[in-house]
């Protein structure tokens, strides 16, 4: 399996910068997800790796070899597209055969590979069918099969689940994860869906406006987001950001104050304007009385089955809380909440950068 290295990668369309100076290492066998909102340059980056877009500046190395000027077919890659990109007039078997054609394998080897791949993907029964006779999930499996038969060094996925309905998406997501564990291929996967990124990735690359905002394991980007963009992009519902000022080892928001959490105490200067990041799941119902418990009014409730989302007002501050559904109060109820202090994040209000471990 090959590693992929991107060095100072730039993509320019006339005056527009689609990709700004991207640096990234994808280790051999690693599953890396490029995550970001639409237009963030993730697909352009992937397509440059595939060789479908020219590189404006910088270098791409695949398996140690400079790939900038290699034709797509010479890069040892296979790609799975959002809308499957199957050949509509060919059967499943012919789709795979056509992908193998340039390798000039003998008949027996072609059949062996197709049988083996079809077995792994559960496509045995569908080999004689055309794409139009398959469901979306099956089509995407065929697209993966067509990529797999060539036993490429690197797999590229461009939003492969976006055209599937929610239920199938979960199922195919499991399948992709299973395949990666089984085959261990180097994978670069583009999505705007954070669930896909969190569940599949060894490493998530969060992009915005052509730049990398953070690279880290799913846990790192969730627990230690480097800035407010990552903090609010990862996690549903989004993290609450409450403006406050640090003073006397406390954080003073407009209508309430919190003690400065231990990990920030030594390096957050006095009088700094900050944003307190509170994940909805880190807001808990509490009894009135003890310190650091705040009165809140319930403006609305979204019942989700296991959990419920509360639209709270703490003073004038709007907060979303996620609590076990069984504990949910009535709308308009006056309740008390507390925060998991060790899970709080602090960001510089001006730069949006995390204040953790400066």
């Amino acid at each position: 399996m090959s590693a992929i290295i991107l060095r100072n990668l730039v993509k320019r369309y006339e005056a527009d910068m689609a990709v700004h100076d991207i640096n990234l290492n994808v280790e051999a066998g690693e599953f890396v997800v490029l995550l970001g909102p639409s237009g963030c340059g993730k697909t352009t980056t992937l397509r440059m790796v595939a060789g479908l877009e020219d590189v404006s500046e910088g270098e791409i190395y695949i398996g140690g070899e400079l790939a900038n000027d290699l034709a797509p077919k010479d890069r040892g890659i296979a790609m799975v597209f959002q809308n499957y990109a199957l050949y509509p007039h060919m059967t499943v078997r012919q789709n795979m055969e056509f992908a193998l054609r340039p390798l000039r394998l003998d008949r027996a080897e072609v059949n062996r590979r197709i049988t083996e791949t079809a077995e792994i993907l559960g496509l045995d029964e569908y080999l004689a069918r055309r794409p139009s006779q398959l469901s979306g999930g099956q089509r995407q499996r065929v697209a993966m099969g067509r990529a797999m038969v060539r036993t490429p060094e690197v797999f590229l996925f461009d939003e492969p689940l976006s055209n599937l309905d929610a239920k199938l998406r979960t199922k195919v997501r499991w399948e992709i994860g299973y395949l990666h564990r089984r085959l261990g291929m180097t994978t670069l996967y583009v999505t705007h869906d954070q669930t896909e990124a969190m569940t599949l990735a060894d490493k998530i690359v969060i992009m915005r406006q052509g730049r990398i905002e953070q690279v880290g394991t799913p846990e790192e980007v969730f627990v230690r987001p480097r800035n407010t963009f990552v903090a609010t992009f990862i996690g549903t519902p989004a993290m609450n950001l409450v403006p406050a000022v640090s003073a006397d080892a406390n954080l003073h928001a407009k209508d309430f104050s919190l003690p400065m959490p231990q990990k920030f105490r030594n390096h957050v200067p006095e009088g700094l304007e900050v944003l307190i990041g509170i994940r909805p799941s880190n807001i808990n119902l509490a009894d009135s009385g003890p310190a650091n418990v705040f009165a809140a009014s319930v403006r609305g409730i979204e019942y989700l089955g296991t959990d419920a989302l509360l639209d709270l007002r703490v003073g004038s501050e709007e907060l979303v809380a996620e609590i076990p559904a069984i504990l949910r109060p009535e709308v308009d109820a006056q309740i008390h909440v507390s925060f998991d202090m060790q899970s709080l994040q602090l960001f510089d209000a001006k730069t949006g950068q995390s204040l953790e471990s400066i």
Binding site: P72, A85, R146
Partner: protein, 295 residues
């Protein structure tokens, strides 16, 4: 709701009646009248002689006449020549002009010009080009030391002269259809094929052609029907000659009806022509269905 619907229906009728009236007067009534005539003897030069019922005599005469068989052969020969050349050239140029390059839209528009010219004018243009002594074509041939070709005066060349003019006029039609069909294909399968490493030729042959096949069949079918009815260019260039070398079916019908004034025979020949076109249409829809089932 019901009121609105009936009112809508009345409006439909108001819009439909003129079209139906025109269709009836120019197509349906003449067709019925031709059907009536095809069983009668009717000499246009003797309008007051009663049109006697002659049964299948007109049909029998046509189908047993070697002259009619000859026109059928000429018609099909012309059809096969023009269709095959238009298909190959049209698809070729269509593929080239389907490339997304700057200025390609202009090139496509320019290439469409022959199609927009009235066939009689096309005939006249080519008549000038083919002109034995003064024509440009022979002049250009003389520049590369090829002796003059008797384009429209030789029985072997005349059919080619007509074919070339028709090909010149209608290849753009195939080109336009091909380019449009290629543009309607999604780009991803091509990217997938490129990554897999298939050659351009293989991609064209195995990915493009099968996907645009229904369009190609439709284009060929439309061209086939037109080729079958080809008349104007021939009328201007050769009038069916020299001798009967380029006498096609529609020429035959015209000659029977308006030169020999045998309206009954002309009408019967029209119906035979119609029958052949119907067979063509049936064949076309069969093959179209077959190729669409596969997609």
């Amino acid at each position: 709701m019901a009121y609105g619907r009936t009112r809508n229906r009345k409006i439909f009728l108001i819009f439909l009646v003129p079209a139906i009236a025109v269709l009836f007067l120019t197509t349906i009534y003449p067709m019925i009248y031709a059907g009536y005539l095809s069983f009668r003897s009717y000499d246009l030069a003797k309008p007051f002689v009663p049109r006697v019922f002659v049964g299948w005599a007109n049909y029998r005469e046509i189908l047993t006449s070697s002259e009619f068989m000859h026109t059928l052969i000429v018609t099909f020969k012309l059809m096969v020549i023009t269709l095959s050349v238009q298909l190959v050239l049209g698809v070729g140029i269509g593929v080239l002009t389907a490339q997304r390059l700057p200025g390609m839209a202009l090139v496509r528009t320019l290439l469409l010009i022959p199609m927009m010219i009235s066939p009689v004018i096309v005939g006249l243009i080519w008549l000038f080009l083919y002109f034995p002594e003064l024509g440009y074509l022979n002049y250009f041939l003389s520049l590369v030391s090829i002796s003059a070709v008797p384009w429209i005066t030789s029985t072997t060349w005349a059919i080619w002269a007509i074919a070339i003019a028709d090909i010149w006029q209608w290849t753009p039609f195939v080109m336009m259809g091909t380019a449009a069909a290629i543009h309607s294909l999604s780009p991803e399968p091509y990217e997938a094929a490129m990554i897999d490493g298939n050659s351009r030729w293989q991609i064209f042959w195995h990915v493009t052609i099968p996907q645009i096949k229904p369009v190609l069949i439709s284009l060929m079918f439309l061209r086939a029907i037109d080729a079958f009815k080809l008349y104007d260019i021939i009328f201007v260039l050769t009038k069916g000659g020299p001798g009967d070398a380029t006498e096609v079916l529609s020429m035959f019908i015209y000659r029977q009806s308006f030169t020999f004034w045998r309206m009954g025979v002309g009408a019967a020949a029209s119906f035979v022509s119609l029958a052949i076109v119907v067979v063509l249409i049936t064949f076309f829809f069969k093959s179209l269905n077959r190729s669409q089932e596969r997609i």
